[in-house]
Amino acid sequence: MSINKQNQNLSQVEQRQRERFISKSTKVAAKYLRRMEELPGAPDEIKPYFEVLRNIYVEQMNIPETNGKKAIGTYCVMVPQELIYAAGAIPVKLCSGSYTAFSIGDDVVPRDACPLVKAVVGFQTMGTMPIYRDCALMVVPVTCDCKKKIAGMLGEMVPTFSLHVPSSKSEDEDMEQFVLELYQLIKVLEQATGQKVTYESLIEGMEQVAYAQYEFSRFLEYRRQTPALIKGTHVMAMMNAYSYMPVEKWSSQLKRLNARLEQNKKNKLYAAKENQPRIMITGSPVIFPNIKLPLLIEEMGGSLIGDETCMGERMLYDPVAVVDESFDGLIRAIANRYTRPCTCPTFVDNTQRIYRIKQMIKDQKVQGVIYHVLRGCLVYDYEYQVLEEELGKIGIPVIRVESDYNEEDIEQLRIRIEAFIEMIKLGGNKNGR
C-alpha cells in the first residue's frame, strides 16, 4: 500500500503521530550524521556511505538501484547473503539503532527486551520506513530469545522465515541441520522472488559477496596502521551502509577508499596522532544512528581502531571456502562459513571469540577494550566475565559499558570513557594485575 493511500485511512491523530515520528526520527539521524561528518579526517571516499545513511534515515527513501529486484529483510549477519543474491533479490539488514523507533517499540514489546528489537518493532509498527515496508520476506535468524519472539510477532504481520541457528557448531550433525535449514530458506526465497536459485546464480552471488570480503580484507590492512589512517566512527558509517547498499556498489566504493588510504599512507596523512590510545569495541552491535559510543571514544581522544561486533568486522570475515564444487557442496560451504568461524554468543561454546579478540588485540595493537552491552542483551553479558579474566591475564584493560537507545546516559558514558582513555594514557594497560 502506498504511503498516500495509507495516510488516507488514518485518523487525524494517527496522522499527526506519524508526522511527529518521522520528524523526530529523521532529526536524530541527521544530527548523528552531521556529527560523524564533522569529525575531522573523513576521506572523500567515505562520503557516499554517509549519503546512503542519509537517504535511508533522513530522506526516508528505499534502497536505490534495485532494478525491480525484491528486497529481503534480514535481522542478523547469520543470514547468507549469497542465497538472497542468487534468488535475484537484494538483502536489507533491518537491525536498527533508532532512538525514536525504540520509544515506540517500548510500548509494544516487554520492558526488558533489548533496544535493537524495540527499534525494529517500532519501525514495523509505524510503517513509515520504506525499507521495512517494502520487503517481500523477512528472514529472522533465531540467535537469542528476543529474536525468537520477534520472529513469531513478525510472522503474524508479514511473510517471515525463522532461521534456526544451531546452538552448537562443533559436530557434523549440527552442520547437517543448518544445511537443511538453508535448503528451506532457498525454497522460501524462490517463492518470494519467483526466481530459481541455480548453480550459476549461486556462484554469481558468492562471487559478489567474496569480492566485498576481498576489498574488506585489504581495508583491514590499512586499518591496522599506526597511527590510524581512518577514524573508527567513519568505519562504522561504512559498515552500517553495507546494510542498505547492493554489495557490488558497496565494494566498488570500498575499492576507491582503499586506493585513497594507500595514497594517504604514502603521504603520511593520518587520521589520528601516534600517541592516541588505541581502543577496540566488542559486544553488542553499534547500529546507526546509535553511534554515541564510537563518537565519544574519538571525541575524548581515543583512536577506535577495531571492532569485534556483528555490525563491524565480524560481518565480512573470511570468504566461503569451497571444497566440493557441486550445488550441495556450495551450500555446505556457505553453511560452514556462516557458523564455524562465527563468534556470535548464540553458540553454547564461544571460546573462539576470546581467541579472535586476542588476535585482534595483537594485530591491531589495541591498548584497551570497551565491552558494549545493550540493556537486555543477555548473551553478550554472559561472556563478559570470561573475557575480562582472559584480557586481565595479558594486561589489557577492559570496561563494560551498558547502554540503551537514548541520549540520557551520554554524559555518564563520556566520564567513564574519558577516565578509561586517561588510564591508558598513563600506562594503566601495562599493569597486568
Binding site: 553454547v348 554472559y382 563478559y384 570470561v386
Partner: protein, 425 residues
Amino acid sequence: MPDKKTITYESEFIDTLNQLLRSNKKLAGAKYFLDTTYHYFHLNTMKTRRPKVIVLGNSIPEEYIYAAGKVPFWILGGSLSTASWADDLVPRDTDPVSQSMLGYLMNDKFNLAKEAVIIVPVTCDSTRKIVFLLKRAGYRVITADIPPNKQEPLALYKWVEQMRRLTEELSAYTGHTITRQSLLEASKVTDRARRLMREFLESIKGREHIISDPLRMVIVNSYYYTENITKWCGQLQSLIKEIKALPCCYNASTMRNKPNVLLMGSPVVFPNYKIPFLIQDIGLRICANADILTEKIYLEEVKKTGRKKEDIFQAIAMVHYKGDCSAAYANNKTLYDRVRYQMKTGNMEGVVYHVLKGQIEYDFELAHYEELFSAYGIPVFRLETDYQYQDVEQIRIRMEAFMEMLVQNQYSSGRYKSYSKEKRA
C-alpha cells in the same frame, strides 16, 4: 556449626513445608508427598546424593532416561538461596530460575553433578550460556537444541533428531542399551503417573475445601522430586481413594464466593511458593494452573502398538513435542490452545499472569492472552516478581485490589451468593 548460607537454604524450604503442613488437616495421605519433597531438598541428602542423570527443566521426555536404566534427577530452580549462590557467575539480569538451577550445581555446599551427566535442553539464552559455564567447570553435559519454531516444516524432524542424539549419548554414558522393551516399560510408568495426576485433580473437584491450592500444587510437583516413581504412583492412588471417600461439598462455606483465578506464565517451583500462598491468603482460589510444569500431566498417552524400537521411540517424541508448551517457541500455540480450552470449560473469573524477572518470553506472550481474555471479559493481572520476599506486601496490595474487582464483577453479574438470601429461601 551451620553457616548463614546453609541456614538460609534450609529455612527456605522448611518454612514452605511447614506452612503446607499447617494447611493440611484432613488428608493423611498428603504427608508422603511432603516427605518426598522434604527428602529431596534436605541438605544432608543433597550432600550425599550422587545422581547419575541430572535434567535441567522439564522439557526432556523422562521416558528416555528411565529406558536408559536411570532415574532422572530434576533441577527446576525455585530456590532463592541457590539463586544467590550463583549471583557472581551470571549477569545481573539473568532470570531467577536459571540462576537457581546453576546454584544447585555450582556451589560450595554440595556437588550433585560429581558423577552425573547433566542434560540441558537449550530453550533460552540463559540455558545456552549455562551449558558453557558447566562445561568450563568440568561437568559432563548433554545438550538438546530445541527447534525454536513449531510452525516450520522441519521442526518435528529436528526435535526427533535431537532426542535421538540425546538417547545415543545417554546410552553410551549409562552403558545401558535402550530397547523397545525398556521404552515400553518406561512409557507405561510415566503414562500411569500422568493419568493418576489428572485423576487426582479431577477427584478434588467439589472437594476444594479439603485441600489448599498450594498443597495441591506441591503434590503434583513432587513427581519431580521422587526417586521411586512406582511407589509415588501407589501413594497417589491411595490419596485419590482417600479424597474420593470424602463427601463433595460444592457450596462449602470456606469456598463460597472465592473468585476463581487461573495462575499462568512462569512456573511456580518449590520452595518459592510466595505467589500461591499470597493468592490463598487474600481469598482467591487457583482453579487451574497453566504452565510448563502442570501442562506436562496432560500429555497424551504414548501409542504402544509399534513393533519396532523406533516406533515407540518416535511415539514418545511425538507426544512430548506435541504437548510441549514451553515459552521457548516463537509461537506457543500449544499453551494458547490449552488455555482457551480451560477458559471455555472452566469457571475462571480472572487470570494471574506470573512473570519472573528476566523470563522475557512470557512477557512477549502476554499480549496474546490479554487479547484472548478481554474478548471474554476476564481481567488479567500481570504480576512481575523474582524470588526475593521484599515485594510481598506490594504484591499483596495490588492483588487485593484485583480481588476486589473480581468480587465486584460477581456482584454485578449476579453470581455472588448471599448468606441471607439462602437462609430466606
